[in-house]
Amino acid sequence: MTLAARDLVKRYGDRAALRGVSLSAGSGALVAVIGPNGAGKTTLLSILAGIQQADEGEISVLPKGIGWVPQQAALYSKLTVEENLSLFARLERCPDVRATVDRMLDLTDLRERAGDQVGTLSGGNRQRVNIAIGLLAEPDVLLLDEPSAALDPRQRARLWEFIVRLAGEGTTVIYATHNVQEADRYASQLIVLADGERLFDGSPRDLEQEVGTTGLDFEEAFVEFLHRRGH
């Protein structure tokens, strides 16, 4: 397993955001975390990323660690694409900054825009740079929080092409999303959260089979699943 988390609990005062959530993901897996608003998706990812500490539970991960891509692009809009990549490569203490930046420019297909300030990029390109920064340290696991939110369909398609390619190269990608269709289309593993509780862990087809109703698309099957579980 590339990443394993067991019995994670997180409380904000009296409210439990996560109630004993466990998950594991193997190399090259594309794991979608879905659920209604307030289910605990972002909390789970931020704990896996190390931004927040869990009150209980434990996480084990391979030595090369976890890359984190927040929902909003965490970039300096006054710096160019190349300067952003160089800065974070230096902060990540990459041994060869120049080579790492070149690799990321190729990976994101943004070499031609390398000298452009990030503030002038489209939302899709900005998100690519955002993801590239998460990949600078060549992590085993990449965490993405709502990676395609606020992108138009064309930008979204290009972004997923990029993410799928990453997973194909062996990176474990775990992403939280509201877009159930994206979970169905790209995820190899699905984790359903509701009220901080893990309700399901399996493939999208497994979830459809568990619901068992024919003639429903995946989104309808997901809603039916939540309904049956009392959500």
């Binding site: 965490a74 970039l75 902060l91 920064i133």
Partner: protein, 447 residues
């Protein structure tokens, strides 16, 4: 941290308008405050009719020749004279509002003073339309006439003393071109003593002469006290001024310290608050503190950037001001220390503001709104407001870095008072606001 610092400098370099505003605004404010403090109000325009024009304005007192025209010219240091040809014209100008007042020097001023029988009189007319201006003109002219009166009184007293000395000891006195030989009480006493010796002992004439001799001696002895009495009459009240609380800084030197403190506050507060808030606005904070930079390291970087930039701007300001104001470069290490410690305290306050706000605009606005009241509160003098209110103002000023920074800069630049106290105060505020800034990052991360 080095790379973060370079990144912030790069961002600043790409924001020339912001940097220009950040530097020029406080410098302009500082210079305006400095001007307002170091430069008094404009001279009031006063119509001036000189009745002595074309006549002798010289009076002779106590052997001294006093040129009244020269004495009167001192008045022009305080007023802006509008010369007119008649008293009527002067009064008309006041009525028309062309001038704030009129000063009339009559043609008989010199002869009246010379006669010493009646005082010389000057006439002053005020425009009472604006009470503030009226009071200003009235006070200005009265103060100057009072000064001239004082000078003349001293000279009259000096002449009186010379005459009394002549009566006491005798000598020559020149009056209207004639030289008179005055016997004097002392010489009269000698002559009388000789005459007395020739009279028979116990005679009535001798007894009466004894009374005359005793009276002369008594008069001569008492005249010796007249020096002190006349000196008191010449200057009945003297002003002995002693400065308490603070040093003896001139207004211009204080204005330099004030200009520096204002610039230091504006630049440091806005930079520290803005650059920290920018990390949150750009969503980079959560990425940075995931092991790339410690939270304390991030705060130190922002404080260093803000303090470094503001100290450099202030040093350039001092170099520029030194062209116009006398700056003691021998005290460079002291005022550099005051600038650095002051900048760190402002930076810590800026970080607390930056940590408490959500974006750069809110941080800048809050920092900006805090700046001016702090500066003005620190400048409220004791006695200008009710004692209880002044205590509140002092307490508020004490918990923000402006007042101690101003005190430190004044002490360092102008050798005005203790430097160690304000520096320690600033260090304590740096620690306090630094801790608040660090605490606010918890909230920063959680939202």
């Amino acid at each position: 941290m080095r790379w973060l610092l370079l990144k912030d400098l790069q961002i600043l370099r790409r924001s020339p308008l912001l940097v220009a505003l950040l530097v020029l605004y406080p410098v302009i404010i500082a210079v305006l405050i400095g001007f307002a403090l170091s430069r008094g109000p404009d001279k009031p325009e006063v119509a001036f009719y000189n009745g002595l024009a074309g006549k002798s304005a010289v009076v002779e007192l106590g052997g001294d020749r006093i040129d009244l025209a020269k004495e009167g010219s001192r008045l022009f240091e305080a007023i802006d004279p509008v010369r007119v040809n008649s008293k009527r014209e002067a009064i008309q100008k006041v009525k028309d509002g062309d001038v704030l007042g009129a000063l009339i020097i009559p043609g008989d001023l010199a002869s009246n003073i010379q006669s010493q029988l009646e005082p010389g009189t000057v006439e002053v007319y005020y425009n009472a339309e604006d009470p503030a201006k009226q009071q200003f003109v009235e006070n200005t002219i009265k103060a100057q006439v009072q000064t001239a009166n004082g000078a003349l009184t001293k000279r009259v007293a000096k002449e009186a003393l010379q005459l009394l000395a002549l009566i006491s000891t005798g000598g020559e006195y020149t009056f209207l071109g004639q030289t008179l030989d005055v016997l004097g009480l002392k010489n009269a006493e000698v002559i009388l003593a000789k005459a007395r010796a020739q009279l028979p002992a116990g005679s009535d004439e001798r007894a009466q002469l004894d009374r005359v001799i005793a009276f002369g001696r008594l008069a001569r002895e008492n005249l010796s006290f007249s020096d002190d009495v006349l000196a008191v009459v010449g200057e009945p009240i003297r002003v002995k001024a002693t400065a308490l609380n603070g040093g003896t800084t001139s207004l211009t030197s204080f204005a330099v310290a004030l200009a520096l403190a204002v610039s230091l506050m504006f630049i440091t507060l806005l930079l520290a608050a803005g650059t920290l808030a920018l990390e949150r606005e750009e969503n980079a904070f959560s990425r940075l503190v995931r092991g790339l930079v410690s939270k304390t390291g991030l705060l130190a970087e922002k404080a260093g950037l803000a303090a470094g930039c503001s100290v450099i701007v202030c040093l350039v300001m001092v170099a520029g001001l030194s062209l116009f104001v006398d700056i003691d470069w021998g005290r460079f290490p002291l005022w550099l220390a005051a600038l650095v410690v002051g900048a760190l305290a402002f930076a810590a306050l800026g970080l607390a503001i930056g940590g408490l706000t959500r974006d750069v605009r809110a941080a800048s606005l809050l920092a900006f709104m805090l700046c001016l009241p702090l500066a003005f509160l620190a400048l409220v003098p004791s006695g200008a407001v009710a004692p209880a209110l002044y205590d509140v103002i002092r307490a508020i000023s004490a918990v923000f870095p402006f007042k101690p920074a101003l005190d430190a800069l004044d002490a360092a630049l102008n050798d005005a008072g203790d430097l160690g106290g304000p520096l320690l105060h600033l260090a304590a505020l740096t620690a306090g606001f630094g801790a608040l800034g660090r605490l606010s990052l918890q909230r920063f991360a959680a939202t």
